[in-house]
Amino acid sequence: MKAAVIVFPASNCDRDLKVALTLSMGREPDMVWHGDSELPDTDLIAIPGGFSYGDYLRAGAMAANSPIMREVVKKAESGTPVIAICNGFQIATETGMLPGALLRNAGQKFVCRDVDLLVTSQNERFVGCFEQGEVIRFPVAHHDGNFYADDDKLNELESEGQVAFRYVTPEGEQTAAANPNGSRNNIAGIYNKAGNVLGLMPHPERLISDELGGTDGKRFFDHLVSSIV
């Protein structure tokens, strides 16, 4: 299996994603510079977290207009799986690959902590290793992770099974206190309609060993790799 990680100026989780993918794939992903206009032959595209272009203008807005993203959108439309994490999720909504928008956190502050997530919909490729309704743990680290979609879009996401993860208590309850950023319906991640693009604010690549505090991220990537191979 081959994977490509897109690198923008001031991406900063690109190395972490590379480490996690390498651990699960047994080979390194291609690191693709934002200015490139062609993607290498790849089975998975990963858009990492960070502050692409300094998040100036609006988080993800400038990266969405970079040459490489036109290629990423094309590949996604033709069915290549895409995982977009944190700033990657913001970029994916800016390109229209995913619906909605990520607004400033309701608390106005950057927030970095482990969060409990409910695996909401079954999507074999991305979360087949988890039970539907299982509570897993990934960390968040963002300033603009407050997921917003208007009522119609939100209803559509819910009814079409496009909600991937929700912020919950360790017991799986969807409460306001468990929501770190004010996201509507506690949404932490979503799929596109076709189910081949996953955008999420939490960072699975940060919990890939016991030393780091957990292995749910390792389970996630191991499964993703095995389901694509």
Binding site: A10, D16, G54, D55, K109, P139, E211
Partner: protein, 733 residues
């Protein structure tokens, strides 16, 4: 041309004697640009003129020290051809005036100091002091400083893994923002600042130069008064995006062998970087200021030389390597301009529009910087207060709850959750423990990092306080299993022209020297910030110490959290019951009195070495040193972190309040599996180390026999609540 009058000289912060030296060195009257250059080079901030005499007395060498003080940052060998490069620096005055930008550019500056030397920054830390919690400005300053540190560090993708925060009235008008960066480099690829090679190109890279921050170094060398907020234009504005690009571009160029020397433009910008490079190399430099990338039109040589615009570097390249370097910087969309060359004249010659804007001899200006032996008086050490001298409280449980929810001990989670402390994927001990621990990427090694200082101890007895600050960092590293290797110091004091303040400085240095020497723990870098005064009142003396240690195998790391029911709790060290300067005295009796706890450095060494040996044998399941709040608070912190209680029985002749709340030195609380207790005791006995069994882990309460019983969840709540409550007051945003 501006005539140099007495008033202009005074405005530039030069004394009459200093100006006489300027005239002597030049043999003529300086022009305004030259005067400005003298002014910043001879400012306290750049010249260390009041502190140099004493800084020189600190130990700076050890077999593992590759580079001590004097470069952009200090360098230590961590084995396998790898080096840790680190330094701590203050950004106090700017942060008080404009907390977000002041703190942000402080972080940017210290990271540049580290990557200038060829290191990728892998961890940021900070040491913050704010005014009293109920001061009307405190909430606003905390909020701005924390957001500024977060805004810069998070965007750079360098984890901010810990730090310390104090609140005290002595900082009401002068907060302290000290930022530390630790980086990682290969020992055979470290970069220094000495310019060399006559004719070699001098290159400017990074952001363009603007009019921001002019006179920052001079501001940092003067006291504050009520009009200080008008100095806002002297605070620089940070752009972490550009710095991230600059970091990647510099590291990319450093992977080639094109660089001869490199220096970041920090305080006093182009002036201090060019003079330091020329002085260290014993050469001259010619700069054509027309070639400096500028953000604004019509800038004068004076403004260009004194601007403190951020995210800039000056380099000397090998001849013929300019185009290769230019390509890298253009790829990262950064300015790159060859602005001059190295000469053999020993002079700094600046030209603009075809005119000579300044022509100054380098060595005399740099080396003849004033050095003062300021008069000082020793602080009279106060008397020791013992437990018997303090009235016993009615309810020890309420005392513990009050301390856990006090400004000094309450959880700092509100702060560190705003810092990305996990990016780079190597943080294995997150904020909230004794020291942060980050792995050396791709190896089994890890670095333990901590910042510490207890200013109330330093104020009461500078020498003891200085020794204590060093010892506490050493203990915090030891408690994780790390071998403490070296420190960086950030010396924050008041006006050195007052003998009692100078006495605090001298006292702290003397204590630090004793501790560094006994603990084999040299100073490898640092920074001095004086004139931290407002309207004539100085801050508490605050020698913030940043310590770095090495874990050879991170899998053996310990944390402070209680782990498993049934583990035995032990006290390493003896309780003395000294109560002077304790938080107990301050929070319960409202007294800031007495001598700080006695630091016995031989004991520190012995107890710490023993603990590290036991951790190395994997016999210890949790370890935590005793510090603020004493044994009672240490136990509560361990219970909260592990979310499990303990039953403790103290076998001591001391009054209970002294046993629980005296801030004992050279003491740790440990836990050990029941089967390992005899072995651990055996080693202690053989080495004549005091080790006492004091209890067992279990249940949901912390129970200290005959003293108190409190549920862990209650302790957790009061500990968690204080800072969010403070920050939700109106006016805190």
């Amino acid at each position: 041309m501006t005539e140099i009058t007495k008033e202009i000289v005074a405005e530039h912060g030069l004394t009459e004697d200093e100006y006489a030296d300027v005239l002597n060195i030049l043999g003529r009257t300086p022009n305004l640009t030259e005067l400005g250059i003298f002014s910043v080079m001879w400012s306290e901030h750049c010249s260390y003129k009041s502190s140099k005499k004493w800084l020189k007395t600190l130990p700076t060498e050890a077999p593992w020290v590759i580079c001590g003080p004097g470069e952009n940052a200090g360098v230590i060998d961590i084995g396998d051809g790898q080096a840790a490069i680190f330094k701590m620096e203050s950004h106090n005055h700017p942060s008080f005036i404009e907390p977000y930008q002041g703190a942000a550019t402080g972080v940017g500056g210290i990271m540049r100091d580290v990557f200038t030397m060829g290191a990728r920054p892998i961890a940021n830390m900070n040491a913050l002091r704010f005014g009293r919690p109920d001061h009307p400005k405190t909430g606003h300053l905390v909020s701005g400083v924390v957001a500024g540190i977060a805004g810069y560090g998070n965007c750079m993708g360098v984890p901010t893994v810990g730090g310390e925060t104090n609140f005290h009235a002595s900082y009401d008008g002068n907060i302290l923002v000290n930022a530390m960066t630790v980086g990682l480099a290969d020992t055979d690829n470290i970069f220094y600042s000495a310019a060399a090679g006559i004719g070699n190109p001098v290159v400017y890279v990074g952001s363009k130069t603007g009019r921001d921050g002019i006179h920052g170094a001079t501001m940092a060398s003067a006291e504050f008064d009520d009009d200080s907020e008008e100095k806002r234009p002297t605070v620089q504005v940070g752009d972490p995006f550009t710095e991230k690009l600059l970091l990647e571009a510099c590291l990319e160029l450093m992977a080639t062998d094109a660089i001869v020397a490199i220096q970041d433009m920090g305080a006093a910008g182009l002036t201090s970087s060019s003079f330091e490079m020329a002085d260290k190399g014993g050469v001259g430099i010619e700069l054509n200021l027309d070639l400096v990338p500028m953000r604004e039109e019509g800038m004068t040589p004076y403004e260009i030389m004194l601007s403190e615009s951020q995210e800039r570097m000056l380099m000397v390249l090998k001849p013929g390597r300019e185009e290769e370097a230019r390509k890298i910087f253009e790829k990262w969309e950064l300015d790159f301009s060859v602005i001059g060359k190295v000469t053999d004249t020993g002079r700094m010659v600046l030209t603009m529009n075809g005119d000579v804007a300044a022509d100054l001899p380098v060595a005399p200006l740099a080396d003849a910087a004033p050095e003062y032996d300021r008069p000082w008086v020793k602080t009279t050490p106060p008397t020791v207060i013992m437990g018997e001298d303090v009235t016993a409280p009615d309810n020890l449980g309420e005392v513990l709850l009050k301390l856990m929810g006090s400004s000094e001990i309450a959880s700092r989670r509100w702060i560190w959750e705003q810092y990305d402390h996990m990016v780079m994927g190597d943080t294995i001990q997150r904020p909230g423990g004794d020291a942060a621990v980050v792995r050396v990427h791709g190896t089994q090694k890890a670095l333990a990092i901590t910042t510490d200082c207890t200013p109330r101890y330093c104020y009461a007895d500078p020498e003891m306080g200085g020794a204590q600050a060093v010892a506490e960092t050493w203990r915090n590293i030891t408690a994780t299993g790390g071998v403490p290797l070296a420190i960086t110091d950030c010396m924050n004091f008041g006006n050195p022209q007052r003998p009692e303040i100078m006495g605090q400085f001298v006292g702290c240095i003397n204590g630090m020297r004793r501790a560094c020497t006994t603990l084999d723990y040299p100073v490898i870098s640092g920074n001095v910030s004086l004139y931290n005064e407002t309207n004539g009142t100085g801050i508490y003396p605050t020698p913030a110490i940043g310590g770095v240690g090495l874990l050879a195998d991170y899998r053996k790391m310990t944390t402070l959290a209680f782990k498993s029911e049934g583990d035995v709790v032990l006290l390493l060290g003896d309780l003395t019951g000294e109560m002077g300067q304790t938080l107990y005295l301050r929070e319960i009796e409202g007294r800031e009195e007495g001598a700080p706890p006695t630091v016995d450095l031989e004991k520190e060494r012995k107890h710490g070495d023993y603990l590290r040996e036991m951790i190395g044998k994997e016999l210890i399941t949790a370890a935590h040193d005793i510090s603020d709040g004493g044994l009672g608070v240490a136990l509560a912190e361990m219970a909260i972190a592990g979310n499990i209680g303990a039953e403790i029985l103290l076998n001591t002749d001391l009054p209970s309040h002294a046993a629980l709340f005296a801030e004992e030195q050279a003491c740790y609380v440990l836990t050990v599996k029941p089967d390992d207790v005899e072995m651990v005791r055996g080693f202690a006995l053989a080495e004549d180390i005091p080790l006492h069994i004091i209890g067992t882990i279990g249940h949901t309460e912390l129970k200290i026999d005959g003293c108190l019983t409190i549920s862990v969840s209650k302790l957790k709540n009061v500990h968690a609540k204080w800072l969010p409550d403070l920050m939700s007051r109106p006016g805190s945003e």
